[in-house]
Assembly symmetry: C2
Homo-oligomer: 354 residues x 2
DNA sequence: CTGAAAGCGCTTACAG
DNA sequence: CTGAAAGCGCTTACAG
């Protein structure tokens, strides 16, 4: 017998779901006893308990989460506010968050906001009205804050890949560490003249990745290959940078380039390849983002830094749950480790490095 | 005075939100009168009504949506189930849906499911427990159905960019129409030898786009330029196709290529350009998807078909709301119009076409 | 025009 | 071990 068969048609002809009252009646006990049996609470004859559970199962009973929330003062829902309609960052973060939360019985509302303050307010209000237990705010840059006065919000908040106001709790990728890992890997492969081509200086990630590059080099007692080249986060800029390297005499070219993102790496590889420079033999290239659509389309496939965005979303959610439970959690921004995804553009096919 | 100031600290030290009881007490009326005043229901002295509303405002009162849902048998929430973790389709759809719903006071739960039936079940159960009013199911292919027995679900369901089971209601882009518009535009620009390079035949979208290509051609009394070239949805395949055209004698080359997606178009343009063939002068190229990251990175920028995914999400949500309201809505799949995004690869800068 | 009562679907002390 | 009562925060008939 299918559970649906046990459902009753109500007056309007739609299917009415069984309530705990139905279960109690069918089992011949009171509602409070039914509740206790279904929640494994208190002591009771296990024979009774099992009978009630069997009846519930048969009626396809599922407790109404809203009724539960009302008495428990806890909705088991979260709100995710994001202004990244582009989707590059939000979707992995949301997927990681949503999956981890689903396993714990909590569901997450998606609020796609542009940066119009009025719409932000609308969405925040909706989340308050729906009595979500907490909010995760996610952005597309770690140095920009959303235009909402979130501190005035009556619930725990966690920031992901977005600026974290003083005293708040945030999660961002460890840009410096990721860059350090990428450059160290290049060094371990024997490269010594490692250039850096990256995005606009106005992004804090640019400074951090540059520091990682410098630290890896100095730890290996190597000099930076000139200044970092800062420009746009685009293929076009990567291409231009590649042409610039090509114009150097062979002896003055870098033997590797660490790029600030995958698009730059893609453009750079195109420029190099067009001029007959072999990647990785002549110049090794490493990117940043592991945006698969780019990283797997380059020839050869791109070695790049993965920011572990799913994990970022997951950790943010778990921490938010702790806060909701009243556990003490330290204020401040956490930098979660990136991991290097080794493909072929760095000169190491490295099936073992995976 | 800020609203937050009016909040009271409860026993645990967290901020307690004002309830309707607080409002009623502060205004010196009964709870039922307060409710009526706040909901603009029934008749009452407008002086009383305004006084109550003022008190509510001052206390920062916001009705608890879950309590409301409990009595109204309507939660003003929706679930969005998607298996497109890739994000290409889901994010625009979700953004369009979420924005349209937010304006109507309904919030949407995001359920990122892989295709593991067990996790699908987990998420569907969560949505049922949370008593969402309806479900929108979105996928990454219009010819694949999710592995859930959704008909057994006790609520209205709408499918977006996914297969639509018999008798259900679905929304997909009008692939045939989009292709027709793209090819017609090429024809209007004077092209006559229009080839088609596209994805795997196993995708229904491939057949539909091919039909659009054929219809536009036959309406203009033009012949197809050979068979459609079917391969992968990748730059690599587009590149290979481009090389193939290059290998033809000049007089036997197409003067335009309609590509099944933007990645193919990108690869094709690269191959053409590398061989000294000018785009669009020698061969015009049009893509499909308007995936901006590709469409704006090609040289020249790509003219392509936009599937209007945001609008798809919006329409799906509005229709779902109608179903929830009990309005009659016709079963079947709706094909929503695509629109051509004219850039430069088709040979028409067309500032007026925008 | 206003308020007391009942109820939405649950859980949680508290009596028996 | 089991059940009656009260209550979570609201709304909706129904009396006054």
């Amino acid at each position: 017998m299918k559970n649906a068969d046990a459902s009753l048609l109500d007056a309007t002809g739609t299917i009415a779901r069984a309530t705990i009252k139905d279960v109690a009646a069918a089992a011949g006990v009171s509602v409070s006893t039914a509740s206790k049996a279904l929640n494994e609470r208190g002591r009771m004859a296990s024979e009774t308990r099992e009978r009630i559970q069997a009846v519930a199962q048969q009626l396809g009973f599922r407790p109404n989460a809203m009724a539960r929330a009302l008495v428990g003062q806890r909705s088991f829902t979260l709100g995710l506010l994001t202004n990244d309609t582009y989707g590059r960052f939000t979707l992995p973060i949301a997927a990681g968050l949503s999956a981890a939360m689903a396993d714990r019985g909590v569901s997450v509302f998606l609020c796609a906001i542009d940066d119009e303050p009025e719409r932000v307010r609308l969405n925040v209000n909706a989340m308050e009205d729906k009595r979500v237990d907490g909010l995760v705010v996610s952005g597309k840059r770690v140095d920009r804050v959303l235009p909402v006065d979130l501190p005035a919000v009556h619930m725990p908040v966690v920031y992901v890949n977005a600026a974290c106001p003083p005293g708040a709790i945030g999660f961002v990728p460890d840009d410096e560490g990721g860059a350090h890992a990428a450059v160290s890997h290049l060094i371990s492969l024997g490269r010594k003249r490692i250039a850096h081509v990256t995005g606009p200086r106005s992004f804090s990630a640019v400074g951090l990745r540059e520091q990682g590059w410098q630290r890896a080099l100095s730890e290996a007692a190597l000099l930076c290959f000139g200044e970092a080249l800062s420009g746009e986060w685009s293929e076009a800029f990567g291409y231009a940078a590649g042409q610039r390297f090509v114009s150097y005499p062979v002896s003055e070219r870098p033997d590797a380039v660490f790029c600030g993102n995958d698009q730059i790496a893609r453009g750079l590889i195109d420029a190099l390849t067009l001029s007959g420079i072999r990647v990785p033999q002549d110049i090794a290239v490493v990117g940043f983002d592991n945006w698969e659509i780019f990283a797997t389309a380059t020839r050869p496939p791109l070695t790049t830094v993965d920011m572990a965005l799913k994990e970022l979303g997951r950790q943010a959610g778990l921490t938010l749950l702790d806060m909701i439970d009243g556990k003490p959690v330290e204020a401040g921004q956490r930098r979660l480790p990136c991991r290097l995804k080794v493909r072929e553009s760095c000169g190491s096919p490295a099936p073992w490095a995976e």
